[in-house]
């Protein structure tokens, strides 16, 4: 539990000591630590293995760009692979393990890859593993695949809860460093709605990591005041632990808030994380900058880290990367690290500065114009080999090396809408280009304004400018006095001399030489190099490696940095768990469940439910003693044919059509005619898409001259309504007609069977006459039932029996089903579900979803004659195209199994007997199949070429998928009562 590298001071809470474990060993730390800072305090240098060569790797950064220190957190289903130790907020009892090593981190067998590395250069796999052919699939590929990945998923469902939400603001400030704070304070004082988000768990950015002063006081003093002011402002929402990961269209930003990750035990009411969609009118990006390494031989040893990170560990977390450190830099920032560490009592062995004119900023040994040529130490750095300006070499013993190659402004979000950064030679960095996402401004280090003063000033300026555009008066905030050091840097990317590999991409093990090989092989575009070498494709998405690689590429191709350009920056800025994007839409809540008013009643009857789109419908109602669904369904079907059944058809779409031109409107949307339909009558309507295929079918009931009720299938209710509104608003705005969807306003039941009228007689209020003369087949009426309840009655039939559909306002739906069952009891009423409904309609040859699958023309249904030529209606013209209407095309037919009971599987293909079963002889397929209790055999509906002229033929049914060949007789698709006498029976 010792902390040999812990220093005094820092911004950790020493009153809150914590313990945690790494690879089974227990360590100590404090609240305010990250896992990385606590491990460093304990002098743990080796924390991970690289992806390809399994090289030992240590902590490289102090932020979300960390490529090396990826660990697994937690046990069991909450196991979190690939967590960045550098951003993991320490909590008591945290369990962390290293990844991508076997059997242990210290001894990793797969490190053999490193020995073979000369064979495993960029793109090696494209050139080999091709012989013998079978070996790739059987041996090489599985071997490569088994080595894939870093951490592992638990394999169990993620047990945590995630939320999604919307936020709105006038100004979104991304990043809570000096620029972001100045922007937020300026905006706060203007009264605008402000959101300040930062991925860190404390606000302040680099102010927490530096020893700078503001107005002559330590930065922490000003920071406290600034945060107090922002906390107190009601128009400001401060969001630490919130990573703004993407800039989307029209000012929408995606952000992930880590709500409970830092809690040892999260309260039950908190989600683990929240995915916010922030709708901002303006945004200021103050995301800071990311330091980049310099490539030199063996620059990947544990102990080598970015100089700014080394400084942050010392200042913020009071941790020395080692008791003896050195710094390698090409800019002044490296010297800050040396002087800060020196001030904290850490021994600085040397500063190696590539610039011949570098100045020391403290009492340490400075090698000007010098480079690091190599490093030593197997699992932790022990020394670095330095070549001095005069060519002499010296070995500098040190346990840690801080490297600074300069800073990359965090431009990623500026590029999410296809913007490109531009190269600024004076800063030796890519800065935001001209094409920012609309509404975005950039300030602070993200915009190349690196000094504390420039960051504060540019943040305040960007905010006042943005707010002025929105009409807010934003008086310039009084900014504190702060350092305004210029950027002094000499571009320097990699050390060409020295023996050993010089690493660019630490996680994916890509070297400068790999880039050279790519160029040698013709991969000269920056995108080609990335894809060929995998550079920049690791979990940091090239935040560390890309600039160095672009420099190497620019060198090799003789192009400049700007001309070489960057690869495309894509969201997310930092990776986001899939579960966070899904929020609560998972499990049973993946999609809403729509329930009909009689749902509870059906559940009481023991109904089995089935998904029908979003609806849950009663599929069948098993009774005690029935052991197979077929028994139940057969019984329900027989009851309809022999007595009376009741089925909930509430889910059918219903559209109310009103207006003086209502009939003309229906004439437009249905291919058959509607103008002559009398009031109180219902007509079947066939609705086509404009391409002539059947969109839907249903009925339209004329309740008054200017009032129709249109029904649609359950599946197409939304589609048909949308289409009707399209026709009304976009095509026929000349018509006086209004539409409203009433699907959910009415509960509707089919009452079908020979006793249907007798049942209904028990509930309709006098003087309504159910007699066949007064209320014949295809009649409709508005009436009252059960002593005054408004209702609509339609005499229509899907089953082929005498049948009615009765609709009451949805609030009476539950009562009505109970009344119907009561009134029907003397008549042997039986509730039936969608399964029996399906059997009944197949017996009657009615097409439904399986037939109306969007590939069906009126001719296929033998309904071409229904398409009126006397009027203009949607789809009529194109339904006459050859491919939809040819005489020898597909026709809907019925099939009867020759051996009676064997099911005719829907989806089987049809062949003339004796013909080969190949595509050339394929004559159609079975669309729907059922066992018909009425006929006592298996039947099916099918589309068969020239089917209407082949009644009586034998057809071969091929279902090779399940090894079946059957035979059936082609029959008319109406299996039962083709004359329609039962409709009146």
């Amino acid at each position: 539990m010792a902390e040999p590298n812990r220093l005094d001071g820092g911004r950790i809470d020493r009153a809150s000591p914590l313990t945690f474990s790494f690879d089974g060993k227990t360590f100590a730390g404090y609240r305010g630590d990250t896992l990385a800072s606590a491990l460093l305090a304990a002098n743990v240098k080796l924390v991970g293995r690289s992806f390809k060569y399994h090289r030992p790797r240590g902590i490289l950064t102090a932020g979300s760009e960390e490529p090396n220190a990826l660990v697994g957190l937690h046990r069991g289903a909450r196991h979190d692979p690939n967590a960045r130790a550098t951003t993991v907020e320490l909590h008591d009892g945290l369990v962390a393990v290293s990844q991508n090593r076997w059997p242990s981190l210290a001894f990793d067998v797969m490190a053999v890859n490193d020995v073979l590395s000369r064979f495993l250069t960029a793109g090696f796999y494209y050139k080999t593993f091709m012989w013998p052919k079978r070996f790739w699939e059987k041996f090489y590929e599985p071997a490569i695949r088994s080595a894939a990945g870093l951490g592992a998923l638990s394999g169990e469902p993620d047990p945590d809860r995630y939320d999604t939400g919307f936020l709105h603001c006038d100004l979104l400030v991304v990043g809570g460093g000096p620029a972001g704070l100045a922007a937020a304070m300026t905006a706060a004082r203007s009264g605008a709605r402000v959101i300040l988000a930062d991925e860190d768990f404390v606000l302040g950015g680099r102010l927490n990591a530096e020893t700078v002063t503001l107005d002559g006081e330590p930065a922490a003093v000003w920071l406290r005041r600034a945060l107090d002011e922002l906390h107190a402002a009601h128009n400001v929402r401060l969001m630490p632990r919130t990573s703004v990961f993407g800039a989307y269209d029209h000012g929408v930003y995606g952000a992930l808030e880590r709500v409970a990750d830092h809690l040892a035990v999260a309260p039950a009411h908190l989600p683990r994380q929240v995915l916010w969609r922030i709708r901002s009118r303006r945004a200021v990006l103050c995301a800071g900058a990311t330091e980049r390494p310099i490539a030199f031989a063996n620059n990947d040893r544990p102990g080598i880290m970015l100089a700014g990170a080394m400084r942050a560990y010392a200042n913020r977390w009071a941790v020395a990367a080692d008791r003896t450190v050195a710094v390698f830099t090409n800019n002044d920032d490296g010297h800050r690290t040396a002087s800060d560490l020196l001030a904290r009592g850490v021994s600085v062995a040397a500063v190696i500065d590539a610039r011949p004119d570098a100045h020391a900023q403290g009492n340490y040994e400075l090698h000007r114009g010098a480079i690091v040529e190599n490093t030593r130490g197997r699992k932790a750095l022990t020394s670095v080999d330095v070549r001095r300006a005069d060519g002499s070499r010296v070995t500098v013993p040190c346990g840690a090396l801080g490297v600074s190659g300069g800073w990359n402004p965090a431009v990623a979000l500026t590029c999410h809408q296809r913007g490109r950064p531009s190269w600024d030679a004076s800063l030796a960095a890519f800065v935001p280009g001209a094409d920012l996402p609309p509404g975005m401004a950039v300030a602070g280090a993200a915009n190349g304004s690196f000094s504390t003063h420039a960051a504060l000033q540019s943040g305040a300026d960007a905010a006042s400018h943005a707010l002025a555009e929105l009409g807010f008066e934003a008086p310039a905030a009084a900014l504190p006095l702060a350092e305004d050091a210029p950027v002094r840097i000499q571009a320097f990317w990699h050390v060409a001399s020295g023996k050993g590999r010089t690493w660019l991409d630490f996680q994916n093990d890509v070297t400068v030489k790999d880039v050279g090989l790519a160029v040698q092989e013709g991969f000269r575009s920056v995108e080609h190099v990335k894809r060929y070498t995998t550079l920049g494709m690791a979990t940091d998405q090239g935040k560390l490696a890309n600039t160095g690689a672009i420099a190497a590429l620019a060198d090799l191709t003789g192009r400049g940095m700007g001309e070489t350009g960057t690869t495309m920056f894509r969201p997310p800025w930092t990776p986001v768990p899939i579960a966070a994007f899904a929020g609560r839409s998972r499990g049973k809540d993946f999609r809403p469940a729509r329930l009909t008013p009689s749902h509870d009643w059906a559940a009481e009857q023991g109904a089995v439910f089935v998904e029908a789109g979003l609806w849950l419908r009663a599929q069948y109602f098993p009774r005690p003693g029935e052991t197979h669904w077929r028994q139940t369904v057969d019984r329900e079907v027989r009851a309809v044919r022999q007595a009376v059944g009741v089925c909930d058809v509430t889910t059918l779409g219903k559209v109310d059509v009103q207006g003086s031109d209502a009939a003309a409107f229906l004439n437009m949307i249905y291919c058959n005619g509607f103008s002559k339909l009398p009031v109180s009558r219902v007509r079947y309507g066939l609705m086509l898409r404009e391409d002539g295929m059947v969109m839907d079918d249903g009925t339209a009931a004329r309740l008054a001259d200017d009032h129709f009720v249109v029904t649609t299938t359950t599946a197409n209710a939304a589609l048909v309504y949308r289409h009707m509104e399209f026709v009304r608003q976009c095509l026929r705005s000349d018509l006086d007609v209004q539409l409203v969807s009433t699907t959910e306003a009415w509960a509707q039941y089919a009452v079908a069977g020979p006793h249907a009228r007798a049942l209904l007689a028990g509930i309709v209020d006098p003087p309504f006459d159910l007699g066949d003369d007064a209320f014949p087949y295809m009649a409709c009426a508005e009436l009252t039932v059960c002593g005054g309840v408004t209702a609509r009655l339609f005499r229509i039939s899907f089953s082929g029996e005498r049948a009615y559909e009765i609709a009451v306002p949805a609030c009476y739906g539950d009562s009505l089903i109970r009344v119907l069952m009561q009134a029907g009891a003397p008549h042997g009423v039986t509730p039936y579900g969608t399964e029996a409904l399906g059997v009944l309609r197949i017996e009657k040859g009615h097409p439904a979803g399986n037939e109306l699958n969007g590939q069906t023309s009126p001719a296929h249904l033998s309904m071409a004659r229904l398409v009126s030529t006397k009027k203009d209606s949607i789809g009529a013209v194109l339904s006459r195209r050859e491919g939809l209407s040819e005489a020898d095309g597909l026709r809907l037919v019925g099939l009867e199994a020759m051996d009676g009971e064997t099911a005719l599987p829907a989806g089987s293909h049809l062949f003339a007997p004796g013909r080969p079963h190949d595509p050339g002889h394929d004559e159609g397929w079975i669309t729907s199949a059922a066992y018909s209790p009425h006929l006592g055999r298996s039947i099916a509906l099918a589309f068969l070429a020239r089917g209407d002229s082949r009644l009586g033929e034998t057809i071969e049914i091929a279902n090779p998928l399940q090894g079946q060949t059957l035979r059936a007789t082609v029959v008319h698709p109406v299996f039962i009562d083709p004359e329609g006498t039962r409709l009146h029976g």
């Binding site: 919307f166 989307y248 269209d249 029209h250 000012g251 929408v252 709708r279 809408q417 609309p438 404009e690 391409d691 939304a718 949308r722 509104e725 399209f726 608003q729 976009c730 095509l731 705005s733 000349d734 009027k871 203009d872 209606s873 009529a876 013209v877 194109l878 006459r880 195209r881």
Partner: protein, 95 residues
């Protein structure tokens, strides 16, 4: 995306359903002599510009109005949103 609904103000695009090119407003006469050709071109051929595009959106989870939205297909910037009914009526009035 945020669609500036002419009646309801800025609305999240997830409330809408997209159909396509607003040229679909210009439906040919189904009784015309060369209706076959006219409908083929109307239904199947598209300008599909990289740039300004007038297109139809339906406010399905809103007021159920069809809109003609003028949007840049390269930048996604929305320049205008009108009620399709208004556009259709204007066209009709202008013959």
């Amino acid at each position: 995306m945020i669609i500036p609904h002419p009646l309801l103000g800025p609305r999240d695009a997830r409330e809408f359903v997209y159909l396509g090119d607003a040229a679909l407003l210009d439906r040919p006469d189904g009784l015309a002599a060369d209706a076959d050709r006219l409908f083929h071109d109307y239904l199947y051929l598209r300008d599909n510009p990289a740039g300004i595009h007038r297109e139809l959106w339906f406010h399905e989870h809103g007021d159920r109005s069809w809109l003609v939205v003028t949007r840049d297909t390269v930048t996604h910037a929305i320049l205008k949103a009108e009620l399709a009914g208004d556009v259709a009526r204007k066209r009709r009035a202008n013959g």
